[in-house]
């Protein structure tokens, strides 16, 4: 591997909710085609950081640059079009839709039929529909969900809903995928499968930001780790470097 290229740069970002600083002057970089983990105790600001990157709310100050473009003032749907998609800590699959339809929604950015075309069901829409259904089906095969494509997504077991959410995020052909606690609530076997899956996604050339509490997973698959505590970055580097950092140990275990 040559010199790695920075795909995302978080630059002196602050986020205040009222008077509370959820994130205070956080800066870090994410290299292309690496897995960067964000870890930290509960309430450290990890999910806030993901919400800022995906535009759920804007930062109070500082900026976020993705592929040399400042995205910190863009709306979430604009950011999706830039090539960033995500999953959620509390699963947000569309319960009112089938498994296949969920993935087809994920293909929204890859298609363009608007109201009038869809109302009249023009030939272009038909073509797009066929293409979307095929791509959706092949994604479901990749995630071993094809046998349940007609199920309502709410009737899937928890682990499969997590997989479905990732499938849906991947459907948008992101360059950067943000996973918010992908193995929370999964058993050991499912966690191992998820680790393999994440590595497979990395092999597809997709950069991944991973927020996770499971340290075995984080240390096992991450290339870089950023550690947050009370809204501040306290450490960063490779898994080995972070594990040895006394500040990290202190944050997790407390002072003697």
């Amino acid at each position: 591997m040559g010199i790695s290229e920075v795909i995302l740069k978080v630059d002196h970002v602050r986020k205040f909710f009222g008077g509370v600083a959820a994130l205070n002057d956080v800066s870090f970089e994410v290299n292309r085609n690496e897995i960067t983990a964000i870890i930290g105790p509960n309430g450290a600001g990890k999910t806030t950081l993901i919400n800022l990157i995906t535009g759920i709310y804007p930062p109070t100050s500082g900026k976020i640059v993705f592929e040399r473009k400042t995205i910190s003032r863009l709306k979430p749907f604009h950011i999706a079009y830039q090539g960033i998609t995500r999953t959620f800590q509390n699963i947000q699959v569309f319960h009112n839709m089938t498994v296949l339809e969920n993935v087809m929604v994920g293909l929204h950015t890859q298609t363009e039929s608007e109201f009038l075309n869809c109302l009249l069901h023009l030939p272009k829409v038909k073509r797009e529909e066929r293409q979307v259904a095929e791509e959706g089906a092949s994604l479901l095969r990749f995630f071993h969900l094809e046998s349940k494509s007609d199920w309502l997504s709410s009737s899937l077991p928890y682990g499969e809903q997590k997989r479905l959410e990732i499938a849906r995020a991947l459907a948008g052909k992101p360059k950067l995928l943000l996973l918010d606690e992908p193995v929370a609530g999964l058993n050991i076997r499912e966690t191992e499968e998820m680790a393999e899956l994440i590595l497979k996604i990395k092999k597809m050339g997709i950069t991944i930001i991973l927020v996770e509490h499971d340290m075995n997973l984080v240390m096992g698959i991450s290339d870089k780790i950023t550690v947050l505590n009370y809204g501040q970055k306290i450490s960063g580097g490779t898994p080995e470097e972070v594990q040895k950092d006394p500040k990290v140990i202190q944050a997790y275990l407390g002072e003697e």
Binding site: T54, G55, I56, K75, P76, F77, I79, A80, Y81, T85, R86, F88, Q92, V93, F94, H95, N96, M97, T98, E101, M104, V105, G106, H108, T109, T111, S113, E114, F115, C118, L119, L120, H121, V125, E128, E129, V132, K148, D150, W151, L152, S155, R168, A169, G172
Partner: protein
């Protein structure tokens, strides 16, 4: 285990084509068997309500946004058609289109700001808007005829064919209802329809997948207002007399009830809800004072026992039964 019984989406596309054909056949064949004028009048009102309810269902059932102001859009269609054709002598057909455009634009200005806010602001905005429109209908008596109504609206015609009786209007109204069902089915089984359902499912998630949720909500609101406007215009030209009473708050409640009873998120459910409750309110004419209580009771019962509405509710009940018997057979 229970999950296994509810795995299917309500209808497949093949079935929908079949329903459309049956529906079209119904429109053609019903006049061969029904001769009573009164029945035609009721069916025509069902048709008009169906058009309104289908549009409203796209908003409520599919997108999860509630409007309590569709009586206003229905009324705008009716009054714009009446005023432009009767007072100013505009040709009726282009006026219907013009009314749809004006209503759509008004809906955009009412809907867009309130849809940008989180929470049920659309309910408030539409409620207030419908009251304002109603006041205009009553108070601008120079233009609208005021509380005593607006008489002498011309019937629609195509060439020499004048839609002057209940039977001809039956064909006219139900042709439009059919077209509305057709385009709505097209919409819901498409990229836009999925986006709308996604907004209903999780607005945040929809947004992070590239869906401009504010824009889609505003657009579907405008579309539902345009449907209501079309129905209003057809109503005005059919009855040839309109008065503010037909477009009061009670009508808004009625159409919302039809959406919920028939089935949220099912185009056929909208048709069913419109049919059931229109006929019911005809039967209940004897108890006019208690109408609203009976409506309330139906709404409550449906929400408690069939929260997905009657069509989807009964259908999934039927499916569950079928799967259950299949599994029992396997067990033996």
């Amino acid at each position: 285990m229970r999950n296994r019984f509810k795995f299917m989406a309500p209808f497949t596309q093949k079935k929908e084509t079949l329903f459309l054909i049956i529906f079209a056949l119904g429109i053609v064949l019903i006049p061969l068997f029904v001769k009573n004028k009164y029945y035609f009048m009721v069916m025509n009102i069902v048709g008009l309500n169906t058009i309104v309810v289908i549009g409203l269902n796209l908003l409520i059932g599919f997108t999860g946004q509630i409007s309590l102001g569709h009586a206003a859009f229905y009324g705008m269609g009716a009054y714009l058609s009446a005023i432009f054709t009767t007072t100013y002598g505009f040709p009726p057909w282009p006026t219907i289109a013009l009314a749809m455009i004006i209503t759509g634009m008004v809906a955009y200005f009412v809907g867009y700001p309130s849809l940008k806010l989180k929470g049920h602001y659309l309910v408030m905005a539409t409620l207030g808007f419908s009251i304002i429109v109603h006041i205009f209908m009553v108070e601008l008596d120079q233009i609208t005829g005021g509380p005593s109504g607006f008489p002498g609206i011309p019937h629609l015609s195509i060439g020499k064919l004048v839609f002057h009786d209940d039977l001809k209007n039956f064909y006219l109204i139900w042709t439009f209802a059919f077209l509305c069902i057709l385009v709505s089915l097209n919409l819901v089984n498409s990229r836009v329809g999925r986006a709308l359902k996604a907004i209903h499912g999780s607005e945040v998630a929809a947004n992070t997948l590239g869906i401009d949720t504010d824009k889609y909500k505003a657009k579907v609101f405008v579309l539902s207002a345009i449907f209501a406007s079309l129905a209003g215009s057809l109503y005005a030209h059919y009855i040839t007399f309109i008065s503010p009473r037909s477009f009061d708050f009670y009508y808004s409640i009625q159409v919302v009830t039809m959406v919920i009873v028939g089935g949220m998120g099912s185009v056929w459910g909208a048709f069913f809800g419109a049919g059931l409750l229109t006929v019911l309110s005809e039967i209940l004419h004897v108890t006019e004072k208690f109408n609203i209580i009976i409506y309330g009771a139906i709404l409550t019962l449906v929400l408690v026992f069939l929260p997905e509405g009657m069509v989807v509710g009964f259908y999934s009940f039927y499916r569950r039964r079928k799967v259950k018997t299949l599994i029992e057979k396997e067990g033996n």
